[in-house]
Symmetry: C2
Subunit: 347 residues, 2 copies
């Protein structure tokens, strides 16, 4: 099979014959075959088995016909190398044994050693580089989002401890941001040198901040990450997560190629708020996938019509896929995005 | 003591000598005296004791010096009169015995009978009308937010069942919205005729929707509510909850007086998005209250400076107070808002 580079071309705002599609959490629990594997192994156990992790990464490429694969992994994986013990607990998420709360906790963090501690992830990437005929997106959690887990010790509804450190002990906060920024840069570089073809930085929870606090406490580190990765000739995506519409005007100087949007604002409004500098990725509300197929297609059509008005558009969801999603509907949606967008682009 | 009508004047964009303040959940768990009462009685048990509920409502007026009281109650209270059994479960929130999932479930809902089922709430309002020297705000949950509890059966992270009904069975959805709209109108009217001096409609979770879905599935009912209450000469506040910035341009025709904002956008941006039609209420991130007092004051100062640039501003939080908040800091913040705003308004 020939290599499908549509996703890469769209990220770089080049001409495409159809709109490329992938779905956040496309290698996940909506797929019965994956659920069966999860009965036997935990997420972290799968990540330590490169052949299996590669196989899961490829499932949605074969089953849904998506234009990019995203590495089967978890944003928490690299923090193990910093010396943080955690587990991914069913129905909860990441749970940290010793949350980061003090200067001593932050000083204790080691620099990441990818070759020593995360070689299984690099091996998975190398396997996928040989086997895939679409680009492999690898990813890292952005510093705010990782920090929120490290400080809270588990997923949080309100980020009270994270915000307490940020507002009350900004010197601690910035030293943590610095260390997590270094971690992300080294981790992402290792992905690309082992065969990753694009990178997404997930800042899933940063939309909890007011814009001026995002600008002061988070943006400098995010800016540094993309600046220090700017020599890598692969598309770089920043996904500021849900409820991040007010942050977009502050992103205009990022050296990234793509911004991911949630469903709260349109693709054209996302472009407007970022001065048209980036390709846009998104942004169907994943829960529209509970509706009948004709409703789903109507929503997808409106997003595509808006997205293709300018070069640089990747169809995705506004948030990750949920376990109750239907594989059949996702396959039909992928086909629809391809066919409808191809007809609109030709005409 | 003379009656302090500053809050009412600000809602109607009239001149004030200082910016009025109140806090969402100001009668709540941050107050040790209230926590002690809660050891003995549940929230619903307190609501059924008008003298006690009135006493709790007045606590923050005396302790913090706020310019308005808000009735001690819960947005779920009126649904009991529709025939829905629920409880407020500690550390969870409202839990419904028989969630609304079908046409039969919706048909079964009775019209609200405030005098028969909720006379204790009217009695609380009458007591407060005699005792307070600041306006009493009463409130109702808005139809989307109430529907999300009724359908999910408990607080939800993603509103999957709510959105499933909305997108897949819109006729059911609209019939539920109609019934909840009727409930709100009757309930609010009874508050005002018993001595309530202002009304806030809490649509705490409607920010989960894309703007066009808000416009299609929710706004018609919210519009009808305020239209049918328009003869009541009391300030009416619509609070579309967190992450609702993208919805604001759709609110411009509401017959309400005030819009509540979360911390994600500035007061001036809130005004801009609603064509300057409304007074604005908000919008300190409640978790800034974890910071030292000088940091809190700096954030408050910026919000006040922005808010008083136009007539019609009420200082509040962007979301409800949390149990770990400090009574002392809240008292000092209230004083600061009064004194700083008075000095700026005079000059």
């Amino acid at each position: 099979m020939t290599y499908n580079d549509t996703f890469i071309r769209a990220c770089f705002k080049q001409d495409v014959k159809h709109v490329p599609v992938w779905y956040m959490r496309q290698a996940g629990r909506y797929d019965p075959e994956y659920r069966k594997i999860k009965e036997k192994y935990s997420l972290l156990e799968i990540c330590r088995q490169p052949e299996l992790a590669a196989q899961i990464t490829m499932m949605p490429v074969h089953k849904l016909g998506v234009d990019a694969a995203i590495l089967y992994s978890d944003i928490m994986n690299p923090v193990a190398s910093l010396g943080i013990d955690f587990d991914i607990v069913k129905n909860i998420g990441p749970v940290i044994d010793n949350p980061i709360r003090s200067a001593a906790d932050i000083e204790r963090l080691r620099p990441i050693d990818v070759d020593k501690d995360l070689s299984h992830i690099l091996e998975t990437i190398r396997i996928l580089d040989k086997e895939l005929n679409v680009p492999l997106i690898t990813f890292a959690g952005a510093p705010f989002t990782i920090a929120s887990y490290l400080i809270e010790g588990r997923p949080s509804k309100n980020y009270i401890l994270t915000k307490t450190m940020m507002y009350s002990e900004p010197h601690l906060w910035f030293s943590l941001m610095d260390k997590l920024g270094d971690m992300v840069i080294t981790y992402v570089r290792s992905h690309i040198s082992n065969g990753g073809k694009a990178i997404q930085l997930f800042d899933s929870w940063v939309g909890a901040l007011a814009p001026k606090d995002f600008e002061k406490f988070v943006l400098p580190t995010v800016t540094r990450i993309f600046a220090e990765l700017s020599d890598l000739n692969v598309p770089k995506i920043y996904f500021p997560g849900v409820s991040s519409g007010e942050l977009l005007p502050r992103l205009s100087n990022l050296q990234s190629d793509v911004i991911g949007l949630d469903w709260r604002l349109s693709i054209s409004e996302g472009r407007r708020r970022t001065s048209g500098r980036f390709a846009m990725q998104g942004n169907l509300d994943p829960f529209i996938l509970t509706a009948p197929m004709d409703v789903i297609k109507q929503y997808a059509k409106e997003i595509i019509d808006d997205g293709i008005a300018e070069p640089g558009f990747i169809f995705n969801l506004g948030h990750g896929l949920f376990p109750e999603a239907s594989l059949d509907k996702l396959r039909e949606l992928t086909e629809f995005v391809h066919e409808y967008s191809a007809s609109q682009i030709q005409s």
